[in-house]
Amino acid sequence: MSGPTVKIVNIVESLLINNDLAADRNQRRLAEAGVLTINVMAAPGAGKTSLIVRTVEALRDQARVGVIEGDIAGSVDTERVLAAGARDAVQINTGGNCHLEANMVDRALTELDLSQLDLLLLENVGNLVCPTHWALGEHLKLCLVGAAEGDDKPVKYPEMFAVSDVIVLNKIDLIDHVDFNREFFLESVRALNPGAPVFEVSCRTGAGIAKWAAWLLAQRAALGGAAATTEVA
């Protein structure tokens, strides 16, 4: 009888294939329910919760918006988005994990009545590196950056800007106070991602929010499915 043999076996598959498969299941579920889902990614302090609050306020009469809040701990943000008019909100505490994963979203989805939603905003954990690798089942990845963070964010965190479907530049009211070079920022974004729309907003003043919200609503309409953009009862 021959002894143990050593062999080299080709595999060639993504390290994160199990997460990718869970994300595909989430996306099918969300697509069937007609819920356009946005993965909101940003550094801590860029204004993720503020953008979500502004978006909910802008769309509250036109779309039913749900929110999943990913945070290391706490539930302050869920209270804020519900007060702004979100139909439902679920908190995921990642317990120290630096990003949301598809199976966490899967569990959170069971707590939402998807038939009552048109849009779902997933607030990822504040981080510009880790969330890029973890598909959640979203239809669109959003990269939010605050002008005060600097115009070199795309150069320093290229993958976040490369994988995003839409980029929102927040705190444009501060742009002249923080030496933010808009041309350099946009040049770097375009090198990484020639197609993604870039919206400039201020969640503090409300500037640019209507345009951003209208675009989002148009994306929801394009998804089709259950009645979207109708008057909300």
Binding site: V9, N10, L15, N18, V155, E159, E187
Partner: protein
């Protein structure tokens, strides 16, 4: 710190491939890790050492093959590695277009005992 989750997901896959192959031990795991993943080699190795005791991958070699991010410059029709300060071509200063290289995050092959 996402290296911890990534290593945990990888080991799950390695164990399931080991089952499928009827392997008693995993000697080496060969990964391709692109620069754009921002994974830190030492951190991957640290979590790998932490997670493998008691598994068939205990004591296995974790080999990391790195790929680099590249930019394409249309006027020069060449690819270059961006400097880290901008995405401009070092020859002609045109803003390049980032290619798909350097995004890999793969288990390329396994070396197992059967």
């Amino acid at each position: 710190m996402h290296e911890l989750s990534v290593m945990a997901y990888m080991l799950e896959r390695v164990e399931s491939h080991a089952d499928r192959l009827g392997a008693t031990k995993v000697i080496a795991i060969n990964l391709v890790v692109g620069e754009r993943s921002s994974f830190v080699d030492d951190s991957l190795l640290f979590y790998f050492e932490m997670l493998t005791p008691g598994t068939r991958a205990e004591g296995a070699l974790l080999n990391l093959r790195r790929t680099l991010m590249r930019c394409h410059c249309p006027p020069c029709d060449t690819d270059f590695h961006p400097s880290g300060a901008d995405f401009r071509c070092p020859r002609c200063d045109t803003v390049g277009q980032v290619t798909d290289e350097g995004t890999e995050l793969l288990i390329e092959s396994l070396e197992v005992v059967t």
